[in-house]
Amino acid sequence: MARAVSTRRKTSFTVAAWAVSFLIFFPILWTFLTGFKTEGEAIASPPSFLFFDWNLSAYEAVNQRSDYPKHFFNSVIISFGSTALGLLIAIPAAWAMAFVPAKHTKDILMWMLSTKMLPPVGVLIPIFLIFRDTGLLDTRTGLVIVLTLINLPIIIWMLFTYFREIPGEVLEAARMDGASLRNEILYVLTPMAVPGIASTLLLNVILAWNEAFWTLNLTAADAAPLTAFIAAFSSPEGLFYAKLSAASTMAIAPIVILGWFSQKQLVRGMTFGAVK
């Protein structure tokens, strides 16, 4: 009997999990499908789900109207650049906080996290003015800097959590075994921290890739990434759902593919080291 109950429970959990996953995935699926419709079919009521005239007209229109490769290139530079710069700052910071905590380390961590609670629009004007005066508006450099700063608290928190999981005794053992600080970092700490650093990197690339507020407000043409590319199709000239969907699909495709291949690392990243 016990077995029958557990099988039934298992089945209902599986069904529920699939239902929830489908619900979450549905908007993405709908966007993907709409991209292959004509503008007329895109707004038809009742909407057709799969049985419509599949065509690439929306994609062709999008490609004619904008320069996808340029936006893609900008997105890559901005997301990977800001993540790399962020890691460069965050690794030593998280390191120090995890292994040589000072009296106020916890307070500093909380303070850093609190900056994420500030609505970004609250600092838009000062940042915009600073960018204008320093010539950083509509530059990739400017966006790399601002996204690094925006995501730095998350990067430090994630790395701090990972580093904290590394037992201090292992590092002490390395010291007892005659390892210099350089060798301790090179042969013991880094290999043990690589999974944590990799998942932090992935998660932050995704966060930076999808960041829309700053990328839209601080760029015009030259440095505009894919978020601006999508936004261009939700313009006041009318609602063109098919083109908008085609553009969205093109913008998210690279990151979905990246995410698909790094699922394992990502899940670990998102659970923040809580599950051992």
């Binding site: 037992p167 292992v170 002490e172 053992a173 010291r175 007892m176 005659g178 060798n183 013991v188």
Partner: protein, 333 residues
């Protein structure tokens, strides 16, 4: 060589003074055990010797050289940690070879030494496994292997057996003792288990609240404990302490008598009481007895002694084995 000397060494964490200034000599080749209850500072003292903690004051000399501020890597000591602290991403072979790699030992020589250590510790067939694939006892052996390949001046053990089950603990205890006999290298061993201390040590250092209560051979500590703390800590079951008239009659404030120095009888004796709990171990019977004067005492009878809760028994102490202590808890001779 492995002569370690602590001169007025003290340690404070912030305002908390965990180790008041102390002096200690550890001779070359000695097996020294630091023993004491949790929080007595024994691990801190070991970490000070290792260099993993900085001393607040005083000097540490290793083979006559001042090593007070020498980093752990340069002290020439090996350490075995309670958690084993193996490198999880390295094979057993690489774990054991790591200290040799750090010391720049030639590859062929390193391989030879790793294989020799593996043979001694029965690890040869596990050399290519990772620590995660080993049992607790095997991991402990790897940790010891990593410590011995380097041929250090002294080994430091920080409660190395406390994560093992009872049977394995006894085996490893014997193995470590044999290892010491073969290597004749100085060993400093930290434990809270007085049985480990008694069975392994040449010299026991009993610590309490960061202070050294007594230093001596196991039997010296058992026979002549310097104070009430040592008397109560060394020996199992612990020594009985009697105060009041019976103690005064012997000219002491507190009288100590070990459970094994009381003769238990069903018919006659000096003191009488009722059995509270009788523990039949087969070889011995431990009795917790409520004496008629209200005090409680533990006695050891032989394995065949018949007693249960409520049985009336008589006790005769061996007067020659009394330990007498004054009001401040110090031994009276």
């Amino acid at each position: 060589m492995g002569h370690i000397s602590l001169n007025q060494v003290s340690k404070s964490f912030g305002d908390v003074n965990v180790i008041p200034p102390l002096n200690l000599e550890i001779n070359d080749g000695e097996f020294v055990v630091f023993v004491g209850p949790s929080g007595c500072g024994k691990s801190t003292l070991l970490r000070l010797i290792a260099g993993l903690e900085d001393v607040s004051d005083g000097k540490i000399l290793i083979d006559g050289t001042d090593a007070t501020i020498t980093p752990p890597a340069k002290r020439g000591l090996s350490m075995v940690f309670q958690s084993y602290a193996l490198y999880p991403h390295m094979s057993v072979r690489k774990n054991i070879a790591f200290p040799l790699k750090m010391a720049g030992v030639e590859k062929e020589e390193a391989t030879r030494r790793v294989e020799a250590a593996a043979k001694v510790l029965n690890l040869t067939e596990y050399l290519n496994r990772r620590p995660g694939q080993l049992s607790g006892g095997q991991r402990q052996r790897v940790a010891i292997g990593r410590a011995i390949v380097r041929e250090p001046k002294a080994f430091l053990f920080d409660e190395p057996l406390s994560n093992l089950d009872a049977a394995l603990r006894v085996n490893m205890r014997i193995e470590i003792t044999e290892l010491h006999r073969d290597l004749t290298t100085t060993m400093i061993y930290v434990t809270h288990d007085q049985v480990e201390a008694m069975t392994m040590a040449d010299k026991i250092v009993v610590l309490n609240e960061g202070r050294i209560e007594q230093v001596g051979s196991p039997l010296k500590l058992y026979r002549e404990p310097a104070n009430l703390f040592v008397a109560g800590f060394i020996g199992s079951p612990r020594m009985n302490f009697i105060t009041g008239a019976a103690a005064e009659k012997q000219g002491a404030h507190t009288l100590g008598i070990r459970p094994e120095h009381l003769t238990v009888s069903n018919s006659a004796g000096e003191w009488t009481g009722k059995v509270g709990v009788a523990e039949h171990l087969g070889s011995d019977t431990f009795l917790r007895i409520h004496l008629d004067d209200g005090s409680t005492i533990t006695a050891r009878g032989d394995g065949d002694f018949e007693a249960e809760h409520g049985t009336t028994v008589w006790l005769s102490p061996d007067a020659e084995k009394f330990h007498r202590f004054d009001a401040s808890g110090m031994r009276l001779n």
